[in-house]
Point group: C2
Chain length 313, copies 2
């Protein structure tokens, strides 16, 4: 239920509501998950009793009620989260935003990576003007504009390089930070990253990967990050790893959790993991924020955001 | 074979090459399709005779030779087409290119459509600077730049509107035209569109859709285009339609073929259809070029390209 946006409780029309069903429904209600009760095999019933408004008759055999059920699920799904904005809420119409996007071997052939696409779209939706350039062309892109851009956004991996190329005072942030903010966990992950400076010999760091696509994940999650964290802290640390759906219920053994950006986990599950860490008093951060912190650019990259988003640190 | 980039002829090691295999091989060779012969069930053979260099022993049972076969196919596949460029070959490093992209209900939520993505990426690969704006923000985007952009690219549907907003002499083209050029059929489709002005009462126009995704396709292919073409020509025309893999071998009944952009067909199949039309002496054009022509903007939108690409008309 940790990752459930909308619950569909399927009952057997002939069996009616069983004890297990009632227990499950209580769990769903206790968590405040929107739900619908689908009473299946309705075709087998001659007389249908009155049912509650959140229940409906369906038949997987005849297809009766399936359309109504789908529409109900879609409507409940829409009510789950107020849509957050990536960057549009920081912009005014006509603002220029410069995206400095390295194009390397990891970029998909002939395309843009999803975070770049989503950011461009969000800027357009705000009535603002996105410009893109590779780090190599940054000086030309700046010179092309009459006035400095309202904001520069770049990749964590080239943040320092880009920072040094920009005039003093130019607002700059990273895609990682925009996405941590978009997912609603910027303050918690930015605060969590501070723990990297206070880790002690013998501490265990849990590195959690939301996806199970090992070939690409191994490198950063299980190899690159442990090496960088060891180097940054200079301590004798132990590392534990989880991937995909697995995530410990008890985090008390860990001094810090470093989670991936969570693009393969839905918002509810990511929120659940963030809450687990918060209730256990264990700091949690994410890959992009960790890299930004270790590169010494986190504070700077947070400046474009309001006080309220930085209150935790 | 019309859509075959690489042929893999699978033989039975025990049966050897049969008459049918030889006939098939001759067809493949006649069409100049790169091929490899995979002699399967190699595990059943005690003594293996000498084989040609374009043949290899494999066993689907033991996996023997499968890796080599995959690599061979990949290498043959790479040799099929010289990669074409969308727009990069028209640009110099540091050039500014303005993409005017309407964001309407048909745009995917929070993303960019693929042609926009691919164009942005191609511009970045050229070391140039893409800027994006909605048509509403076009005046602001132009004012943001020190010098006029090297090129403006926009959607066929707003071409006229954008054209009127630009200063005289500003090079302007459309995504449709870039993609017709990318697919190697700009000259033929642009020439084909001229036929729209000479259609006569009783002519039949074939409208061919490469995809079978009817919900979105129906509207433009079977409803919108026939209406626009009837209005443009003022003639009594008949329309015929094909979709997906179907395409008539004999085009002699048609005065004009209007094909979709062909994004769901591979280059070889699209080329085959273009060639069928050319050999039958039937003009062929595509949706985007047709709309551009009927909007009176085709000639203007072709200006950014060299003489050699316009030689047919």
């Amino acid at each position: 239920l940790d990752k459930t946006d909308v619950a569909v409780l399927v009952l057997d029309a002939q069996a009616g509501e069983m004890a297990d069903d009632r227990a499950l429904l209580r769990l769903v209600q206790a968590r405040g998950i929107p739900y619908v009760i689908a009473i299946n095999k309705a075709d087998l019933l001659k007389n249908r009793p009155e049912i509650a408004p959140h229940a409906l008759w369906v038949s997987a055999l005849t297809g009766e009620g399936i359309d109504v059920l789908k529409k109900r699920i879609a409507r409940l799904g829409q009510s789950v989260d107020a849509p957050r904005q990536l960057v549009a809420d920081l912009l005014s119409p006509g603002d220029k935003v410069l995206l400095v996007t390295p194009i390397d071997a990891s970029a998909p052939k002939g395309r843009l990576i999803l975070p770049q696409q989503q950011t461009i779209r969000d800027i357009l939706d705000a009535g603002a003007i996105p410009l893109l350039c590779r780090p190599e062309e940054l000086p030309i892109a700046l010179k092309a504009l009459h006035a400095p851009p309202r904001l520069v956004i770049t990749d964590s991996q080239v943040f320092s390089k880009v920072f040094q190329m920009l005039p003093a005072g130019q607002p700059l942030t990273s895609f990682s930070i925009l996405f941590a903010r978009f997912k609603g966990n910027l303050a918690q992950t930015a605060a969590g990253a501070q723990t990297l400076d206070t880790l002690k010999d013998g501490d265990t760091v849990l590195i959690s990967e939301g996806c199970t696509h090992h070939r690409q994940c191994d490198d950063i999650g299980t190899v690159k990050l442990p090496r960088l964290i060891k180097k940054h802290t200079g301590k004798e640390l132990a590392f534990a790893f989880t991937s995909g759906g697995e995530f410990p219920d008890d985090l008390s053994a860990y001094a810090l959790v470093v989670h991936c950006g969570g693009c393969m986990l839905n918002d509810r599950e990511m929120m659940h993991r963030m809450n687990l860490a918060a209730s256990a008093g264990v700091p949690i951060t994410n890959y992009g924020i960790t890299i930004a912190h270790m590169n010494g650019i986190l504070r700077h990259a947070l400046r474009p955001f309001g006080e309220s988003e930085q209150q935790t640190f």
